[in-house]
């Protein structure tokens, strides 16, 4: 509206078990900050991040969703209209890694063919040998919200996939 620059808004979700570091990854990416203290997220909070890629202006609308617990369902309509998702596991808690596939399946059931990435977070807690020992399938990025390792790469790679998914759909 009166603005010559067209801002392309993309909704992306952060999914995963509670306390895997979803909020921390967003905080690192958006504010470049980190806090050791754990404050759980209830409901949803959206953060915005603008970036320019391939000559276009994007605004990522990052949905920080309350983590999954065995006691409460995450409302499925949070997933609607998402352009992509980051599914997060905590490398220091095996069950959160085992649950990754469940979160991926949930997401894809609402958004078939929408790109997603897996973040193995808290890698600062691992030795190099332990890192190699993690067997995984599909696409994943090792991240640490604490040190900042691979955090921008995580979000930028997802956006790249989103853009390519949109292109291949249009052509």
């Amino acid at each position: 509206m009166g603005n010559s620059i067209i801002m392309i808004r993309k909704k992306i979700l952060l999914l995963g078990d509670f306390a895997v570091g979803k909020t921390s990854l967003i905080r690192r990416y958006v504010d470049n900050a980190f806090d050791d203290k754990y404050l759980t997220t209830v409901g949803v909070k959206i953060s915005r991040k603008r970036l320019e890629t391939e000559g276009e202006q994007y605004e990522l609308l990052i949905w920080d969703i309350e983590g999954a617990t065995p006691f409460k369902e995450i409302p499925k309509n949070y997933y609607a209209g998402a352009s992509g998702a980051i599914v997060v596991g905590d490398v220091s808690r095996n069950d959160t890694i085992e649950n990754l596939q469940k979160h991926i399946d949930n997401f894809l059931s609402q958004n078939p063919d929408v790109p997603y990435l897996v973040a193995y977070n808290k890698t600062d807690l691992l030795s190099e040998a332990q890192r190699h020992a993690i067997v995984s399938s599909g696409d994943h990025i090792f991240t640490s919200a604490k040190t900042g390792e691979n955090v921008p790469l995580l979000f930028e790679s997802l956006l790249e996939r989103i853009i390519h998914a949109a292109h291949s759909k249009n052509s």
């Binding site: 909704k11 509670f18 754990y38 759980t40 309350e66 309509n77 949070y78 609607a80 209209g81």
Partner: protein
């Protein structure tokens, strides 16, 4: 429409709802006055609703469906805006418009948040504990009566203990810690070392609450045996296998502190220089080695012997009567003189002895015995000389 407006006014008067009206281009037509309290910038007419509610990006199709009356309202739950949480309802409002109702659910959500925080933290603590448990460390928790309330599998298997047993019965009775509190205190502050079934454990303790105490057993057998070997190397003279000078002195100081009765002797091999000169240094060393074995063979564990340096040795022999001690040492001297060393070398020894009095220091004992040893040398070698006549040396 009058009708809806009335209901709306009634709801809004309760101040838990705010609203916006949005047209089919997602442009804000009007909004309630109270909204500015919650949003950074109050929404103005003609602005895009997505500017103020990016939460709605992705729901464009559904908003249009509601607008056309194809689906009933939809709702987004627990959306945080600033310091508040809202449930956002999207409902039809006249043709080509939707009503966005914002229900402030902050009070309710804050309570929910507290519960969730508590429950998540508890789950984390539990999973951390499970990790420790799976980590192969041995763990047990005891109550105030020293009864095991919890023990993980590796603990139960290794010590053959189960819940209901007391920790002291099987594990600690084998050790120097008699009292569980004593053991706990040590483990709490420095980590206690215990030896069970040939394995060494470093034990750490932590209070859980007023009643329970947690013990972690870490197997350090490998490290400990290495350290023990090192200590042994420092404790013993490598050539003779007798105690080193330092270890001997420390042991004597302990005996003095414990007020024990013993005979203290300085021994010097006779004419050792001759052996070195006649047969060479190697023979000298092997003679010393053989002398060490002879002493250890003759006395066994009963007598403490150390090498002071060169061919000079120290000995402590604990007896309640001086005569008995003297007799044992003299028997040793006689047997030594008849023992054939390699190449039939004959080794004799001159011994100076003194009885330990109350308040003696190591230095005083040494000086007295050393003087007596010189007398033994000047009086013709291969003999034992006591620094004072026996009757004055009676002890209790």
């Amino acid at each position: 429409m009058q009708h809806i407006q009335k209901i709306l006014n009634a709801i809004l008067s309760k101040k838990v709802f705010e609203y916006l009206v949005v047209d089919k281009h997602f442009v804000i037509e009007k909004s309630s006055m109270g909204l500015f309290k919650y949003l950074e910038n109050a929404p103005m007419p003609q602005e895009s609703v997505f500017e103020h509610f990016p939460e709605l990006v992705g729901y464009e199709d559904r908003i249009l469906e509601v607008m056309r009356g194809e689906t009933p309202y939809f709702k987004l739950q627990t959306i945080k805006k600033g310091e508040y949480w809202f449930d956002i309802y999207v409902d039809r409002y006249e043709e080509d418009r939707v009503l966005l109702l914002l229900h402030n659910v902050t009070a309710f959500t804050v309570t929910q948040h507290r519960l969730l925080q508590y429950s998540n933290e508890q789950t984390l603590v539990r999973s951390t504990l499970e990790q420790i448990i799976e980590n192969n460390q041995m763990i047990c928790v005891i109550d105030q009566n020293n009864v095991i309330a919890f023990a993980n599998e590796s603990f139960r298997n290794y010590f053959d203990l189960d819940t209901g047993d007391t920790l002291s019965t099987k594990v600690l009775q084998l050790n120097e810690y008699v009292d569980i509190d004593d053991f706990y205190f040590k483990a709490l502050h420095h980590g206690a070392l215990i030896n069970v079934k040939k394995q060494y454990f470093e034990v750490e303790a932590k209070p859980i609450d007023a009643l329970y105490r947690l013990f972690l057993f870490k197997d350090i057998t490998a490290v400990y045996t290495r350290t023990a070997a090192l200590e042994k190397a420092l404790r013993f003279d490598t050539l003779t296998g007798l105690l080193s000078r330092r270890a001997f002195e420390e042991s004597v100081i302990t005996l003095i502190a414990e007020k024990r009765s013993f005979l203290f002797c300085v021994l010097d091999l006779d004419d050792f220089k001759k052996i070195n000169d006649t047969y060479g240094h190697n023979r000298g060393d092997s003679t010393l080695r053989e002398f060490g074995s002879f002493c250890r063979y003759f006395f066994g564990e009963g007598v403490m012997m150390g090498r002071w340096g060169g061919e000079e040795f120290l000995m402590v022999i604990e007896r309640s009567r001086v005569e008995d001690a003297i007799k044992t040492v003299d028997d040793f001297r006689k047997r030594l003189a008849t023992h054939p060393f390699e190449e039939n070398i004959v080794v004799t020894v001159s011994i100076g002895a003194t009885w330990c009095n109350q308040n003696d220091s190591f230095e005083e004992l040494f000086l007295r015995a050393d003087k007596a040893m010189y007398r033994a040398k000047t009086e013709g070698k291969n003999r034992i000389v006591l620094d004072a006549p026996i009757p004055t040396l009676e002890c209790s």
